[in-house]
């Protein structure tokens, strides 16, 4: 699996080195100039996208046909992609936090509360991005990277619609008020626990997604 991770990592570095540097500069400048630091959370999403794009490289070079002749199990082959994704999203999170801290310092707003806010924001963004790629990976294994992009968009639109309907339902009933009270009455410690809980759930879904992808990959013909 070490070899597979190296192959994908080096493919990303050789293909996206300039792109990633440029994006980091542009996002940082826009975040500072437009006073929209939340823009930096997009780096986490972008890093995940780099990892998923290795599936496109594999399709382009018919890697899977060759890869199946190597002494690697389908479980290991899929695990390499998921670990790479996790590594890239984790790195993206650290980068986002670092740049948020730097841009806050640049604006003279560096305080412990701001740093805690960045930590919470980054963790929430990472949890969301993990969920996104927990959907994107199995669909990409099943349909191919190109077709999966449209399918993932469809799934995300459907999820957004469900969230919107749930929000409307909450507004029209007592549920919204109850949830609002729950959040309002929450201590900092409870807030942090909730945040880590959400992250843990996202991570669990990501692991379940890996298992689903193993099943898809194992049955796939090349």
């Amino acid at each position: 699996m070490k070899g597979l991770l190296y192959k994908d990592f080096i493919s990303i570095v050789s293909s996206y080195k300039k792109n990633a540097s440029l994006v980091l500069v542009i996002y940082t400048v826009c975040a500072v100039a437009g006073d929209i630091p939340a823009l930096l959370y997009a780096i986490i999403f972008l890093m995940g996208m780099y990892a998923v794009s290795t599936l496109s490289f594999d399709e382009y070079s018919h890697w899977d046909m060759y890869g199946h002749t190597l002494p690697v199990t389908p479980r290991q082959a899929v695990a390499a992609k998921y670990l790479l994704g996790l590594g890239f999203m984790g790195t993206g999170t650290l980068l986002a936090m670092l740049l948020l801290t730097v841009t806050s310092a640049f604006r003279g707003q560096l305080a412990s509360s701001v740093t805690a806010e960045h930590l919470a924001g980054s963790l929430s963004a990472l949890a969301t991005v993990l969920l996104y790629y927990a959907i994107a990976f199995p669909l990409s294994f099943k349909m191919g990277a190109t077709k999966a992009r449209t399918a993932v968009l469809g799934v995300m639109c459907a999820l957004a619609m469900v969230c919107f309907l749930a929000w409307r339902f909450a507004q029209n009933t007592q549920t919204g008020a109850v949830v609002g009270q729950l959040f309002a009455g929450m201590s900092d410690r409870q807030g942090v626990l909730l945040l880590f809980g959400v992250f843990a759930v996202s991570l669990m879904i990501y692991i379940v997604s890996w298992q689903i992808s193993v099943g898809i990959y194992d049955r796939k013909e090349f």
Binding site: M1, G3, Y6, I10, S11, S14, Y60, P71, V72
Partner: protein, 286 residues
């Protein structure tokens, strides 16, 4: 009984528009088996099942004593597919590092380097900047550097110039000097197989028509040129297929010695693999 590198027994693969098999084929250890067949005959389908890429719908496959789905069997397998390898942005050095990570202790980095040197391959040039022949050589270096017991080559020499093909054929002959090493190679360049293979397996419309010792094959089949009257004097099972032209009949015959004895005055040349394929194909399209 000689040791087998691989054996396919009643292997069947079904697609909506094509069925391969049932195929029975044995790859003896220490030999080169040439797999020939027209485009779409099922050669790549067969090789993919043998290498563990796809599973057969029926029958069994033994690869180096195990199943192709067994990781330990595939650790002793070296494969070169025509157009399936690493992403083109990688260099030879990076391909070597990735394969070293895959094969672990089996990987012989010194052997890989020596193949790169032998093939005059630049280590730090991206694959997309290499010629087709160089990419093929890089694939071959990667397939050989873990000292496989069986080398499977799918059209590995196609599109290469005669000099490079000659180098590769020499390498294949070196490789099987060790009697535990075997090669199964498919190729449309039948001259390469006539030069290097010990036996020829002919796949035709998804069926294995024969798998015979190459020398026996060359000895057995002939191209007969004669008139219609002479042709009628031959036993029916001698003649595989006849093409009739204004100049007479041209037939692929089996049992050359018997045909030569029956028609001493007729022109009877040894048949090449191309001829055999051409006539079998002609018979079945009639």
């Amino acid at each position: 009984m000689s040791k087998l590198a691989a054996a396919l027994c009643g292997v069947v693969k079904q697609y909506p528009d094509f069925t391969l098999g049932p195929v029975n084929l044995e790859i003896p250890a220490g030999s080169i088996v040439g797999l020939v067949g027209e485009n779409g005959a099922g050669k790549t389908t067969l090789l993919k099942m043998l290498c563990g890429v796809n599973r057969p719908d029926g029958g069994t496959i033994a690869l180096l004593g195990d199943s192709p789905q067994d990781v330990s069997a595939r650790a002793e397998l070296g494969v070169v597919f025509e157009d399936a390898y690493f992403y083109e942005n990688l260099t030879g050095r990076q391909v070597g590092r990735a394969l070293a990570g895959v094969f672990g202790s089996r990987w012989d980095a010194a052997a890989f380097d020596s193949y790169l040197h032998r093939f005059s391959l630049p280590r730090d040039k991206r694959m997309k900047e290499l010629s087709r022949g160089m990419r093929m050589k890089l694939s071959l270096a990667g397939a050989l550097a873990h000292h496989p017991a069986l080398l499977v080559l799918d059209e590995a020499t196609s599109g290469l110039d005669p000099v490079v093909r000659g180098e590769l054929l020499d390498l294949f002959l070196d490789f099987i000097q060790d009697e535990n090493h075997s090669i199964l190679m498919s190729s449309h360049i039948t001259a390469d197989l006539e030069q290097a293979a010990d036996s020829i397996a002919y796949l035709h419309h998804g069926k294995l028509l024969f798998h015979e010792n190459k020398d026996d094959l060359m000895q057995e089949y002939g191209i007969l040129r004669c008139g219609e009257a002479d042709l009628q004097r031959l036993a029916e099972n001698c003649v595989i297929h006849t093409r009739r032209t204004a100049f007479g009949c041209e037939s692929l015959v089996k049992g050359r010695a018997a045909v030569a004895a029956a028609l001493p005055g007729a022109v009877l040349d040894p048949a090449k693999i191309d001829d055999i394929m051409r006539f079998y194909s002609g018979r079945d399209t009639q």
